[in-house]
Subunit: 242 residues, 2 copies
């Protein structure tokens, strides 16, 4: 079973205080770009992989999706999704994406936000999603960017001249990374951009868009802290079609 | 006109001493992977964009290509290609890839090695290549990896704990970079992985393979200096189909 860091009290409390947890999609700076990658959701059958508190599932339902299946490993998150983001079109369920068995040819859109970097076996999940989508179905997801994840010692550095940069090391050494984020010992799995894309291509997906998210000028003007996102990408977005 | 750094004496002399200049394709550690991305060349019409001394053009001709057009901005390089890598199937010509006009539907394969990061307008070149290929034609190229190119101050760093890493800054700030490599003031143009791929997709290419080159274990065993290539990718390879 995948590590379920989200259900540890320390992590859950910290995660619950993030802007995206309090304010939902509007609290995630990358959301406008994700939305631009999504198809029209009306009458679509949607699966939300790693749905968390259910903000996207609710968005999809309110956009007119025929059905939404929200899956997450975390019991606490599913409980809160059911309590706060319920909708007649949504079914929430606990599921470990590392071992999930999805119904075949049952969805028009598979969506995931910042979940797959917790998976050791991305290839298995991609095969599951491919079989779960109808032909022409879309698979849109975000992950932590490999540039952000690669280093054994991630974090901003400043050199003797006062210049800020992000360290990259071990980029081509794929696999387990252990970091401290909200809690100690969070386990993630680094894969290169190439491996992520080739895994999708090998399984029959067509790459439609690859976005290394950056804030807009308006976002930086409103929140100058976002300027550092121009120095290294934190989020990789991929839009594909079966 | 694009900067023609190759024809400055300092750069040309330095470039001429590189392993890949002296030993051709066998002197380029990434060549075995490039070759794995290439189609069978027999009877193919090939254009080699930024052909340098003509090593690839000659390889393609010796593999049985019907014709090879080798283009390079550098008069000195084209002169040496004609002198050292001539073949009845090859025509070498001087051309600035920034402004080149290729014949339409004239090629089965467009190839380029480590040239496009010198182009300010990658989109124009991609449109030229798309029109120059027949349907089903292949476009395979390598560029300096954006992780390698992004920083305003590229080069290995070592922190207080003795850990080696590569600095990344300005990754999402695309455009001109000036570095010193073989000569001072070499101008290159940084584009993100996403921009490179989306430019191809927007023009009708299907992405077949994205490789962030890393040395094999055998290569590192034979040449331990290559181990640092595992820390950050220097070369991005893209294989596409029209």
């Amino acid at each position: 079973m995948a590590q379920n860091i989200y259900d540890t009290p320390e992590f859950f409390e910290g995660y619950s205080r993030l802007g995206r947890s309090v304010h939902g999609l509007a609290g995630a700076a990358e959301w406008p770009v994700i939305r631009s990658l999504l198809p029209d959701l009306k009458q679509k059958r949607v699966v939300d992989l790693g749905c968390g508190f259910g903000w996207f599932s609710r968005f999809a339902a309110e956009e007119g999706a025929a059905s939404v299946l929200g899956l997450d490993l975390s019991e606490k998150m599913i409980a809160r999704a059911k309590a706060e983001n319920a909708h007649p079109a949504i079914a929430y369920d606990i599921a470990d994406l590392e071992h999930v068995e999805l119904p075949q040819a049952a969805f028009d859109l598979a969506y995931s936000s910042l979940a797959f970097h917790y998976l050791e076996d991305f290839g298995r999940l991609v095969r599951q999603v491919h079989a779960a989508l109808v032909p022409g179905g879309k698979f849109v997801f975000t992950i932590e960017h490999p540039i952000y994840m690669a280093s054994a010692n991630p974090g901003w550095r400043t050199d003797e001249a006062g210049r800020r940069f992000w360290p990259v090391d071990g980029y081509s050494v794929e696999g387990r990374r252990t970091t401290d984020w909200l809690a100690r010992g969070v386990v993630k799995y680094h894969r290169t951009v190439g491996t992520t894309l080739n895994t999708l291509i090998d399984d029959g997906f067509t790459i439609r868009r690859v976005v290394e998210w950056r804030p807009s000028e308006e976002q930086i003007a409103a929140n100058p802290d976002l300027a550092e996102e121009m120095d290294r990408p934190m989020i990789l977005m991929v839009s594909t079609e079966r």
